[in-house]
Amino acid sequence: MADKINAAAVNEDELFTFVSNDDLESEKIIAPRYSYWKSVFRVFFRKKTNWFVLGLLALLLLSCFLVPVFCKYDPYENVTNAYMYNKSPVEAMRLTGGFSLKWCLGSGQLGNSIFYGIWTSARTSLLLAMICAAINMTVGIILGAVWGYSKAMDRVMLVVYSIIANVPYILLISVLVYIIGSGFWSFVFALTITGWLGISYFFRTQVLIIRDREYSLASRCLGTPIPRIISKNILPFLTSVIVTLLATELPSYISMEVFLSFIGIGLSATVPSLGRMIQEGQVAFRTYPWAFWPPVAIAALLTIILYVLGQSLADATDPRTHM
């Protein structure tokens, strides 16, 4: 003990040295450089469940886009072969001679393969959701940003919005589908003709909130043109809002398609879709459950995964979680 104290006393002069007072040195920031997107992914991948859900989504996406490429789905291949109608997985495989992926989920009303059916249908639903979300989000965000910024446009658009928003969405879509037919692209048209309006309105409110913040006033004082104010001062602040919106929009189009096809005003019978399969399966789902539950499961899984991933990503894009 005494030795230690002595040692310290001896070395006292060497323990402390004066630091020179340097103004520039005090300005230095020691913290590592901040990068927005790096932090987003760091927060996102910190959660183990996100890895799992992302893997599941990758598996689903791969199946949706690869299975139909390698295995052509033909809903009418066994239409003349009544033995194949409504067969359970075990029976279907026995009839076709041994185990095969194609019949591992049984066959449908017209002897179609359920396994091939669900992936081809899921691809249709996913494509529909992606295309509709892309169109509605792009149009909605751009128009919403201008709408929030321009007072003249605000007056006009509010009237347009109040009129169109009061027409029931389902009614509008069913009337449109009756008029222009029920193909894939006419369905996209029906979903996007007014679909952007709600997004646009939501965005207008967001833009209004941050439009008159002080840094935007500062940009005006510097003579920044409005397009650059929108792209540099407003949209970067809305990244997390955009991702949140996408997280709810994408699955909502899948459910919308399923719902509309289920009540009979969706895609036509020639386009395989999840809603269509569920509608066909529900007729006798107590007797032939294998034709009903697989498409329901895929639809539910897709919606839930997209929603969960979207929400996690939305949380990660919020810079308040980056600490």
Partner: protein, 315 residues
């Protein structure tokens, strides 16, 4: 008398700014305000919160439109509708420094973009190399380091952020700067840093400032002339020493008496002078802005002016 020879940079004539949500509810934030700012001087606007100081500053940069009156910059009208060329010119020459350095910097942009924003808008550089050179120079001038350019505003301290705001204005090579309470959001220990920078740039570049503040001790330190504003009306304009030695208007007196004295004994016994606007009887004798001489302007009616003259110059 000498002042008449000096060049007037900015002149405000009978300015009114009215905010109205509807025709019935309108609020006159600035009421018949006139003053001139000379080249190279610091003109301060002092008043309590909500007195219209910031509104005047924002009317000059045309964020708030004028309801009546006019603003002239070097003899050219800049309020109301003006040509695009004049507009660009004024935007470049008149810059603003904001009160809250945290709110006035775009959090999602790097310091490089924030400082270059004006340069991009007016294309004030020959090539990319020239732009980087300009930005690095100005960032060094405000005492920051070029390595800060890739950083984001939230990584800086308040004083550093306000210096970024200053760099953003200075890089435009303005002639006139509106400093809207530039130090009221800063820690007391770093206020001097920003004030000294403002003074340095004024000396080097002959800038004129409109300094908006409510802290009289800082105003006394930085300004050449001071205007005291109350409820949208200017009540007194004078040179700094004149105003601090002979505060005449009762509102100015009440502001002066509110300056804290760093001595607890004196501070405890200090009598506060409370301003009561009802002491003015303007029902018959209408008030106006009157020059008392010695560059001292005061708002009052004839009876009050006589009284003020008596106090100031004796009988």
């Amino acid at each position: 008398m000498e002042e008449n020879k000096r060049e007037v940079v900015l002149s405000i004539k009978n300015l009114d700014v009215v905010f109205n949500n509807s025709r019935k509810h309108s609020f006159k934030a600035v009421d018949n305000v006139s003053f001139d700012i000379y080249k190279g001087e610091t003109f301060s606007l002092v008043g309590e919160s909500g007195s219209g100081k910031t509104t005047i500053g924002r009317a000059i940069v045309r964020i708030n439109p004028c309801s009546a009156g006019a603003i002239y910059y070097k003899g050219k009208k800049i309020s109301g509708k003006i040509s695009r060329k004049d507009d660009r010119d004024v935007v470049r020459k008149i810059q603003m420094i904001f009160q809250d350095p945290a709110a006035s910097l775009n959090e999602r942009a790097t310091i490089d973009y924030i400082v270059s924003e004006g340069l991009y808008n007016f294309h004030l550089y020959k090539d990319e190399k020239d732009r980087i050179q300009k930005v690095e120079n100005v960032i060094r001038e405000v005492g920051l380091l070029p390595e800060h350019l890739t950083r984001y505003p939230h990584e800086f301290s308040g004083g550093q952020r306000q210096r970024v705001g200053l760099a953003r204005s200075i890089v435009m090579e303005p002639e006139f700067i509106i400093a809207d309470e530039p130090i009221s959001a800063l820690d007391v220990s770093i206020r001097a840093q920003v004030l000294n920078l403002l003074k340095k740039f004024q000396k080097e570049r002959g800038l004129s400032y409109l300094f908006i503040a409510h802290d009289l001790s800082i105003v006394r330190f930085i300004s050449d002339r001071i205007a005291v504003i109350h409820k949208g009306k200017i009540v007194e304009i004078a040179e700094t020493n004149e105003l601090f030695e002979y505060p005449l208007h009762p509102y100015t007196k009440s502001l002066m008496s509110a300056i804290p004295v760093p001595d607890p004994m004196i501070e405890k016994q200090k009598k506060l002078f409370i301003y009561d606007p009802s002491q003015h009887d303007y029902s018959v004798d209408k008030p106006s802005m009157v020059d008392l001489g010695n560059g001292h302007f005061i708002y009052g009616n004839q009876r009050e002016i006589d009284k003020y003259k008596e106090i100031r110059f004796g009988k």
